[in-house]
Amino acid sequence: MKRIMIDREKCDGCLNCTIACISAHQEGSNFYTADLTGKTADSRNKIYFKEKEGYFPIFCRHCDEPECVMSCMSGALSKDSISGLVNYDADKCGSCLMCVMNCPYGVMKPDQTNTKMIKCDFCQDLTEGPSCVKACPKEAITVQEV
């Protein structure tokens, strides 16, 4: 099973992972054309900055015991037993926001219409793996076998 691992000491806060995530989820866009301010400018990752402590890259961990899945009443969120990834089926989502409230890392968030959730899908449709990892110039995030 693969996971995105974070080495926060290497993070410069460049936000390339954020652009990569937005671009990967806007059909037909690339780094030049990604819309970073519109209604679909939603990133599944974020970087916090704390004075004296530096940058904290926050990425979905696809937890072994995912609180988001456990709190999801409609069955939109599920844990894949083979890949170990937490998948989201928007068609089943009831927009109750329980996943947002229960995620211990604050990764889950609603989209800008408050009707669907923004959730890391590990870029499963891309052969080269997660776009954020590919875009990180410092290798602060890497895909590792766990």
Binding site: T18, F31, Y32, A34, L36, T37, P137
Partner: protein
């Protein structure tokens, strides 16, 4: 030297060059592409602002304005105008030095090789002077006087140089430039912290800088150089790494200021200088062309056959040229002199001398050119180069590439030599365009970059697509360097053209891609466009003529591009010029420009698709002319 660099090199349109570079033991730009493959998204979109200590501010979903309140549209426009101003400054530096050189040469009654061009310029400027030296001095003074005007005083030669319908449009848009140097200054001020925030005002300013860059930095630099160095004459010439002859002391020249080398070139054929080389064990001195100054020398090679071996390659070929070991010294006076040559010169004991401090390389000797001291300077330079030759030849390995390039690149094409070739009139070309044998003309210009597919990749692919559609290609800039080395400027390339263009090329024994030489010669393409429009009695935007800078690299290219748009020409770029973070910028360049000047920007890194788009535009323009 450096054992810790990537062994993976980027792709090149020139397979033999790619193979050579991938086997080198020195690091080149081609090796560094992989390590720089992850790009900053904010930089690519032009939405990063570093103008004050509140920054850098970037436009993100959580920060849709900079701290000062600047929007993406403002940040992109400021960054873009800054780049255009800097690019303009580079070309204006070149024309300033060229005009000064003409003035001093005239004052000292030096050799003026281009009498016809001098007369042409005197006629355009309205100078009536029979003495050639006084005439040349007045021509130079007229140019310098315009360059040094303040920005609130319009330059006087613009109206004389520009095509009348264009001048009228520029006047309507209020984009006639003041003094060219001051306009650069104004562009820098306008884009500083908390000054101009109006994107449209800044884009119009870019067009203004485009006009001063194009008419002075490009067009006039060519013409003044024609007076000083001789007019281009069409001929076949060798190109590529094969031109390096190890029997000679080889001097690689890089830059854009050809006239700086005038006295040196003359001296290289003198008996005492040849003897100096012979004493050191060589047959003589040779100049090896690299970057645009090499292209320019090649263009005028008819006048320098004894000392000029040929053009070896463009900007991103320069490291490979040095890596052959056959070069004994680099004389540089401007860009594109890559910092990447420095460690290679150290490793291979190659002497570097910079003749203009704007292009001072970190480990090179600086010897700023002084006209009055040129004789002693040239002696010192030749001594230093001879010493380098003696010191290095027994110590370094020579790895020549005699198979690279070709011996039959057609060169020496200019607005004058091409017209002469056609029998002294544009009518034969116009007739071929009207009959559809030539569908249209594409000026494929600018640099090479190592993005957009790799070195010269998009340029070569696009040109192949265009000629296959019976579109005649004219090239100027480092694009020419790539196109000639892969054989597209050899008469045999006619076989790659569409049937109609092929028939013409075979009949005239010319290639389907004509070599106008350096990027400065984009100004010559503008002269061709103007003369064609004049002959037809139409404005430039109506011509079935498109521009493309598929692999534009630098700020100068953006200033050139602004000129193309001011002329009202469709301009294709392979990669966006860091503006896509602003929807307004995209709208202005791709749509509104059609109303403003008649021009438009097309961004596409797919050769086939871009060629289809450009063909579509050419066909629409033909329809507009009922042909």
């Amino acid at each position: 030297m450096n054992s810790n660099f990537s062994c993976k090199t980027c792709q090149s349109a020139d397979q033999s060059l790619e193979n050579f570079i991938s086997g080198l033991s020195v690091e080149t730009s081609h090796h560094r592409v992989e390590g720089q493959s992850v790009k900053c998204g904010f930089g690519l979109q032009g939405i990063c602002c570093r103008l004050c200590s509140n920054g850098p501010c970037r436009i993100t979903p959580n920060g849709q304005k900079g701290i000062c309140g600047a929007t993406a549209d403002t940040i992109v426009a400021r960054n873009f105008l800054r780049a255009v101003a800097a690019g303009s400054g580079c070309y204006i530096h070149v024309i300033e030095n060229t005009a000064l050189m003409l003035k001093k040469t005239a004052q000292t009654k030096g050799l003026l090789k281009g009498k016809n061009t001098l007369k042409k310029l005197a006629d355009i400027f309205g100078i009536q002077e029979t003495d050639q030296y006084l005439c040349a001095e007045k021509v130079a003074d007229a140019v310098l006087s315009d360059l040094y005007k303040p920005d609130y005083v319009k330059m006087e030669l613009v109206e004389k140089l520009a095509y009348a319908p264009r001048y009228k449009r520029w006047m309507e848009l209020d984009i006639l430039p003041g003094g060219a140097k001051s306009e650069v200054f104004a562009g820098v001020v306008k884009t500083s912290t908390n000054l101009n925030s109006d994107p449209v005002n800044m884009y119009l300013n870019c067009l203004k800088l485009g006009i001063s860059t194009g008419l002075y930095g490009l067009t006039l630099t060519n013409l003044l150089n024609d007076v000083l160095l001789g007019e281009p004459a069409i001929r076949l010439a060798p190109v590529g790494l094969r031109v390096i002859n190890p029997d000679y002391i080889n001097i690689m020249i890089t830059g854009h200021q050809h006239s700086i080398f005038t006295y040196l070139q003359e001296r290289l054929t003198d008996k005492d200088v040849i003897e100096k080389a012979q004493k050191a064990g060589a047959k003589g001195f040779k100049l090896v062309g690299c970057t645009c100054v090499g292209q320019d020398l090649q263009l005028r090679g008819q006048h320098y056959q004894e000392v000029f071996d040929g053009h070896a390659g463009n900007n991103f070929t320069s490291e490979a040229i040095l890596a052959t070991g056959g070069i004994d010294a680099v004389l540089s006076e401007f860009n594109c002199t890559l910092p990447g040559i420095e460690p290679i010169c150290d490793e291979l004991l190659i002497k570097q001398i910079c003749l203009d401090d704007v292009a001072k390389k970190a480990n090179a000797e600086l010897k700023p050119f002084v006209f009055e001291k040129r004789e002693e300077q040239v002696e010192e330079i030749l001594d230093a180069i001879t010493e380098s030759y003696i010191n290095r030849r027994s110590k370094v390995e020579i790895n020549l590439q005699p198979e690279h390039g070709n011996n039959d690149t057609l060169t020496g094409v200019s607005e004058t030599s091409l017209k002469d070739f056609l029998g002294g009139s544009w009518k034969p070309l116009i007739d071929l365009i009207v009959s559809g044998d030539i569908k249209g003309i594409a000026g494929v210009v600018g640099c090479s970059s190592l993005t957009a597919g790799g070195h010269d990749v998009l340029t070569v692919d696009l040109v192949k697509e265009l000629i296959s559609k019976d579109i005649l290609v004219l090239s100027a800039g480092c694009s020419s360097g790539g196109l000639e080395n892969v054989g597209l400027m050899s008469p045999s390339a006619a076989s790659l053209a569409g049937p109609k263009l092929r028939a013409i090329c075979e009949k005239l024994k010319i290639p389907p891609v004509l070599n106008f030489g350096p990027c400065l010669a984009i100004g010559r393409l503008e002269l061709v466009a103007t003369e064609l429009a004049e002959s037809l009695g139409i404005d430039i935007p109506q011509l079935p003529l498109v521009l493309s800078a598929p692999q534009w690299l630098e700020e100068q290219a953006l200033a050139d591009g602004a000129f193309g748009l001011a002329l009202g020409l469709p301009l294709h770029l392979g990669l966006p010029p860091f503006v896509t973070g602003s929807s307004l910028a995209v709208e202005v360049f791709t749509e509104n420009m059609k109303e403003l000047t008649g021009g438009q920007l097309i961004i596409d890194d797919n050769a086939k698709q871009a060629a289809d788009t450009l063909e579509g535009i050419i066909l629409a323009k033909r329809q507009g002319l009922n042909i």
